[in-house]
Amino acid sequence: MLELIWLVPALPLAGFLVNLVFGRILGEPKSGIVAALAVAASFAVTAGAFFDLLSRSEHDRSHVEVLFSWMPIGSLQVDLAFLADPLSITMALFVTGIGALIHLYAIGYMHGDPKFSKFFLYLNLFVFSMLMLVLGENLLVTFLGWEGVGACSYFLISFWHTRESAATAGKKAFVTNRVGDWGVMMAMFLAFGAAGTLSYSGINHAAEEGIISGVTATAIGLMLFVGAAGKSAQLPLYIWLPDAMEGPTPVSALIHAATMVTAGVFLMTRVNPVLEVAYDWAPTLIAIVGVATALFAATIAVAQTDIKKVLAYSTVSQLGFMFLAVGSGAYVAAIFHMVTHAFFKALLFLGSGSVIHGMHHEQDMRKMGALRALMPVTAITFIVGWLAIAGVPPFAGFWSKDEILLFALAKSPILYVAGMTAALLTAYYMTRQVIMVFFGEARWNDHSEENGAHGDFKPHESPVVMLIPLVVLAGLSIVGGVMQLPFSKDLHFLEKWLHPVVEFGEADIKGTWAYDNKYVLLGVAIVVALAGIALSVAVYAKKKIAAVEPELLANGWHYDSAISRFMGGPGRKAFDAVAWADRTIVDGAVNGVGRVVQTAGGTLRRGQTGAVRNYAAFIGVAVVALLVWFFLRGVVL
């Protein structure tokens, strides 16, 4: 089965091509179905590969499938090859799985959109790129996927490109990602210089053998992190993700919650041996950035009113957790949280999508409320997602988040505290959202006349195609935790599964205080989660406490606006200055030469007076000059 691993990306690609050629003919909903089937099929293949891998002994759970030699030149030999190992298969599984579900959902969501088939075209292309990213055998193939998903997210964010905001958001996402890509390239160059190859096995091996020196490893690690920060929306490059919500909601769910944004975490995990060899401050830095992002984003999420913006910032925050894990050497935990997060965040997004769909594309939570009754399935599934992300046992989020915090504490209490605070806020703002959307009094009636188009404004439940994914994801969000239960080693399925990949980099926390008292930590976590929920309820349901939603937080600490103000102001001025210099100085010099010649000519021709006597005089002077020269030659010299 592993030999067929190439089918995994190939099938979505096929779907893409089919839609590319026949998309318009197929139209709605066929093109959507084709796309969904393609992804589903590749999910099946992945599953097959998974079991194949499972059947093997732990240490040859890795298979390289070379398609062809891609860039063979000099000492650089890059193949277009796939690496099937626990990590990649895990990623592939939930990418294809969730991808399939979201495709299905989108069939309903995009109903009636003029560019229906094109949407699925992009979606398939995205899945293909994402699979290239995760299945790549070397950094370059991953980079291919890496940029591919970036491009696709660009297409999809600006899918409704006639909306200026959507177009801008797409461009912003791409450019910001490019900044990260620069880092990835640097990392590749460094790795190639150090290890003479770009294949993960080669690089990791070199790291493990100590061929890669500490300084180089640090450089590689940090450069990769720059890339990861771009792709996974970490400080300071997160700015594009909230804007990315301009895209259709399935896109937000698939790309900006479940899959693409986790690529950074995946990449760091991939090269965990390199990070291991790097100087200690490198992982620490990553952990700090991660937790800072988690906290920072959480604070912003508290004050958002757009239903999707809340989720966007929460995504940023959750990704922060994952990097906290990476920084703390908890790669398993990172992947664990990545998966569970994929489940519940996708669920939440799809839920919100369903709400938006039901509300006729109204996204402002202040104009919602009491939708519980009108869209029961959505509501219930959404609540499941909420509990999962809030960290309420036994939902999936609880276990993964707890695992991360465990390692964080093992590394440093400060990280733990910060993380906990972020968790608290998460519980708080998610509860706020649930209350504002599904509980309380309905704030949408009073807007009915404004929506003139459909005056009889009545939110409605979404069609079945949209609900099925919700239900499935809800189920996964509930049981997701079983992958890795803390109670006994035997329950560490995920850890065992990923062990061959992360064994070199995984931190060993046995004997630390945190490890010994992990049950205490569980308790703390539960308390914190409930506290957050309680507080939120008190504020938004019971109205006991006045809501604190400072404008500062609503505007995300003015970070984004500051950047755009810089870009629009000094940055633009600087660019203009260059353009000006190009015109006036560089080109001016060129034209200046011409002008000089002209002037010289104009001056010289005044000597050509036309008066024959002048000519004779000039000639005479020349004669004298000649005589002088020769006289000197003859007599003096």
Partner: protein, 108 residues
């Protein structure tokens, strides 16, 4: 006094110097006179200066060739005069009383 006079018999150099001066005067004439005819006369002066030096040199070198050359120069001078005056006449016909300075349609 007498002895001095006797001592100072003009050598070739004297002639050459005289010729040089004559030549110079002729050259200056071409530069300062505005009447084309007179300018032309000054050219004649210059040619005469040359002739003078030729003759003097011929004497000094004891080579008759110099004198022959002068003969040819005279021929050339004659021919030049013919054509030159022709040109002057033809232009003066159209622009009576024009001086060399007036004839500056072509310039720049």
């Amino acid at each position: 006094m007498n002895s001095l006079v006797a001592a100072a018999t003009p050598t070739t150099t004297w002639y050459l110097v005289l010729a040089a001066v004559l030549f110079g005067i002729g050259a200056v004439g071409v530069l300062v006179r505005r009447n084309p005819l007179v300018m032309f006369m000054c050219v004649e002066l210059m040619l005469n200066a040359v002739n003078l030096s030729f003759v003097a040199l011929a004497k000094r070198l004891g080579d008759i060739g110099g004198q022959t050359t002068v003969f040819f120069v005279m021929v050339v001078a004659a021919a030049e005069v013919v054509v030159g005056l022709g040109i002057i006449v033809s232009i003066m016909r159209r622009r009576p009383g024009a001086t060399a300075d007036d004839i500056t349609a072509l310039k720049g």
